[in-house]
């Protein structure tokens, strides 16, 4: 029988079970949290003294880029980040060597997540044809549980069926695609916009009512069609939407229309920071924050949620399934750029990017991200993310926590930004400070609930024994940077920054039921258009 372990007397933050900083014991056995024994004299096999320490469920990152073709391209593109000896992660006892930088190698990614107290992470953009590579990389990402979202927003078959008005066909195909690629959720990236750019080679900005050439369909119809199908299939995380016109001044109207286009169904809008800009006509100089009207809409629509996509100052790598966005950024920064067209499915753009606090646009992006955390009333609807590595590395999460919990520190950083920031954002006047309980929501309980992960993000009986124990500090960044203990499935992964073991995590995916008869014509459709044979497409169960 596996050991019965007790973490005794820690200050527990378990918001999903209504526990907000109570001194309690947490009992677990064989990877699962159990009820404390009724018998007072019952003894655990092992007791860990948690007194004076903070106990939370393991962190859950619902939007990052850690596997698949674009991530691997970025690793090659950013060879410049791997030259210095500090970028090398040496082999340890039971751990593999790796390299760091903004896009760490697979094993290094896993160790760094675990070291930060995260026990689950989801890659947010894998083209169906890249699924096999993504699974191979995830298999080399130990320590954490993981999964990925599969790109569907510019999928030719889906666009054809939505245009034909065949909602059940859309449902069946979506279910087949998720099952075949072993994905966790559908992801829309610039729906219709990537396809438009792929056909025309120009024009970054596709609005919700612009026609997608050849397919005679609008982004609004794609968003509505796929969100409806995903909700009808009862997926745990129905629709993960990267809106049209990312990064464009004045894009907030399109974002608001997207929120309306899901017609009251469950949907998640991702890296919302990049989609909350005022100003107009592609003029970067007119950029300002339009978080307020969008956050108001979120506050009155519980069916919707967002993750932020916080920008942090420093050098990082932009990677996206939004091909036209890559092209747009390439024209601004003029650095090396990778672009790809994935057959009937998706696009891709990868390039280095540096966010500077002295640059007004970058400072504004940073401020708009923070505004989102502070303006969404219900923390269950907003999730911490940097869109790793797009806005910054996931390693910046402790720093973001400090910015949210300490308004004096926040104002100190605002003071280093250009003076023009004050006219364009109200961040300096916002007094709200996050509590530890709220941090526990936006970093673990909230994302777990939004992903439908019943056994994650909480510490109730039956939950996975994914537990992080922190040493409290007045400097919250220090507290969250170096957890005292990290357990995954009951195994001690990390102790004060030292990796103790690197267990194999699970790759999570969905397998919704669907009417297979509806897809009898799919093999022929597929074989006419794809570069690989239909029989070789689906990933087999292992």
């Amino acid at each position: 029988m596996p050991q019965l372990i007790k973490i005794a007397g820690g200050t527990v933050y378990d918001p999903a079970n209504g526990i907000d900083g109570e001194v309690r014991d947490i009992w677990f056995r064989g990877g699962t949290i159990v009820e404390p024994p009724g018998d007072q004299s019952a003894k655990p096999d092992r007791t860990i003294d948690g007194s004076g320490l903070v106990v939370m469920p393991g962190g859950v990152d619902m939007h990052c880029h850690i596997a698949g073709p674009k991530v691997n391209v970025a690793r090659k593109l950013r060879c410049d980040e791997r030259r210095s000896p500090e970028a090398v992660l040496a082999r340890g006892r039971g751990t593999r060597s790796g390299s760091l930088g903004s896009v760490p190698s697979t094993f290094a990614t896993a160790y760094k997540y675990a070291g930060l107290g995260y026990t689950a992470a989801f890659d947010a953009a894998v083209p169906p044809l890249g699924a096999r590579q993504a699974h191979q990389e995830l298999a080399d990402t130990p320590s954490i549980d993981k999964g990925f979202y599969v790109l569907v927003g510019n999928n030719h078959y889906l666009m054809e069926q939505i245009a034909k008005g065949e909602p059940q066909q859309v449902e069946a195909y979506l279910a087949w695609l998720l099952t075949s690629t072993k994905a966790y959720a559908p992801k829309l990236v610039n729906p219709g916009g990537v396809e438009t750019w792929k056909q025309r080679g120009a024009g970054h900005s596709t609005g919700l009512d612009d026609q997608v050439p050849h397919f005679r369909i609008t982004p609004r119809q794609i968003i509505g069609g796929i969100t409806r199908a995903a909700n009808a299939l009862g997926l745990p995380h129905p629709a993960h939407i990267h809106c049209n016109q990312l990064g464009m001044p004045g894009n907030w109207r399109t974002t608001l229309e997207t929120m309306q286009a899901v017609e009251g169904q469950r949907a998640h809008l991702t890296h919302i920071q990049f989609h909350s800009y005022g100003g107009g006509d592609g003029e970067e100089a007119t950029l300002d924050s339009q978080v307020a009207p969008l956050a108001d809409y979120i506050n009155s629509h519980p069916n919707l949620s967002v993750d932020v996509g916080q920008v942090m100052f420093g050098n990082t790598t932009s990677m996206t399934g939004d091909g036209p966005l890559g092209y747009y950024l390439r024209n601004i920064y003029g650095d090396r750029w990778y672009s790809a067209d994935t057959e009937c499915e998706a696009g891709c753009g990868v390039m280095p990017i540096e966010y500077k606090n002295k640059n007004l646009v970058h400072a504004l992006q940073w401020a708009i991200g923070l505004e989102w955390y502070l303006q969404v009333d219900n923390p269950w609807q907003v999730v911490m993310s940097t869109d790793h590595p797009n806005g910054g590395s996931f390693l910046a999460y402790p720093e973001i926590i400090r910015l949210l919990m300490d308004r004096t520190y926040r104002r100190d950083i605002i003071a280093t930004c250009p003076a023009g920031l004050r006219q364009r954002t109200e961040l300096a006047d916002m007094d709200r400070e996050y509590t530890l309980g709220e941090i526990a929501i936006i970093t673990r309980a909230g994302p777990a609930r939004l992903l439908g992960l019943a056994s994650k993000g909480h510490l109730g009986p039956g939950a996975d024994a994914d537990i992080t124990v922190y040493t409290p500090s007045d400097n919250q960044a220090e507290m969250f940077e170096l957890p005292r203990l990290v357990f995954k499935g009951g195994e001690l992964l990390v102790e004060q920054g030292e990796i103790r073991t690197a267990v194999v995590g699970q790759t999570l995916h969905v397998a919704p039921h669907y009417d297979t008869d509806r897809l009898v014509d799919l093999p022929d459709w597929f074989n006419e258009r794809y570069s690989i044979h239909f029989e070789n497409f689906a990933i087999a169960e292992t």
Partner: protein, 271 residues
């Protein structure tokens, strides 16, 4: 002066990164003997690989022998002088900010790559990417001078932003690729595609030139004073080929795909 002679070098690469006259000036000779160097995948005290003698306090080092398996010689050097009687490995003088590196022999690839200041002289030939950007970098050399008495490989002065590279012998393809500023002189035969993607900067081809890319446009025939002065300077440095040049050149503007503000001077008509 401190003198180095190889003791037991073979083909396994040795890195001299961080071991420069300025960085070691405060150490005694016996402390320098104990400095750890990477040889392949292991670290060894310097004295196991080299015999050293003399005094490091004047920041002048004399290296004698075959150092072709020793890389990163004088890399990151700030001041002082490193003279090598023999050949050097790759990355010699990389990211130098000052001082002087003299190689009486051949140099490997990435000689003076991303250099910011100082001077490098090579009597023999250099490998590929002399004065260029390292893989994955946007810009190459940002200051200083490199004088190569022999020939150079591909991508000489690629991504250069400031500084002066002179190749007395022949030069491989892609010379001055994506140059942003700075000067590149080639006296020997120049390989194909010089100045491809250059935005600004000056390339002077004083020997036989290849057919230029179609994105370089002939502008005029002229005798620019600055070229004249630079040739006189090179002659004063002992470059015999710099004497007797008329300085009368055909100016071509390019690369027109990148704005066309670069200057490509040809002393001889295109073949």
């Amino acid at each position: 002066m401190l003198t180095f002679r190889p003791r037991s070098l073979d083909s396994i690469p040795v890195s001299f990164a961080g071991v420069t006259p300025d960085a070691m000036v405060a150490k005694t000779t016996s402390q320098i003997e104990r400095v750890l160097l990477w040889q392949g995948n292991r670290q060894l005290p310097l004295a196991e690989l080299f015999d050293i003698s003399g005094d490091p306090s004047d920041e002048v080092w004399q290296l004698e022998g075959d150092f072709s398996s020793v890389h990163h010689l004088a890399a990151g050097m700030k001041r002082g002088e490193l003279q090598l009687a023999g050949s050097a490995g790759r990355h010699a003088g990389e990211s130098m900010t000052g001082g002087k590196l003299v190689i009486q022999g051949d140099a490997g690839d990435y000689l003076g790559a991303e250099m910011r200041g100082g001077r490098i002289e090579v009597t023999g030939s250099a490998g590929d990417h002399a004065g260029a950007a390292l893989v994955g970098s946007k810009v190459g050399m940002r200051g200083g001078e490199i004088l190569i008495g022999g020939s150079a490989g591909t991508h000489a002065a690629a991504g250069m932003r400031r500084g002066w590279v002179t190749i007395v012998g022949d030069c491989g393809p892609w010379a001055g690729y994506r140059m942003r500023a700075g000067s590149l002189f080639v006296f020997g035969h120049c390989g194909p595609r010089p100045g491809a993607g250059m935005r600004r900067g000056t390339i002077a081809l004083l020997g036989p030139a290849p057919t230029l890319l179609p994105t370089f446009a002939y502008a005029c025939q002229l005798c620019p004073q600055v070229i004249h002065l630079m040739l006189r300077e090179l002659a004063a440095q002992g470059v015999e080929q710099a004497t007797g040049q008329s300085g009368d050149m055909a100016l071509h503007n390019g690369d027109l795909l990148e704005g066309g503000r670069g200057e490509l001077f040809l002393a001889q008509p295109v073949r």
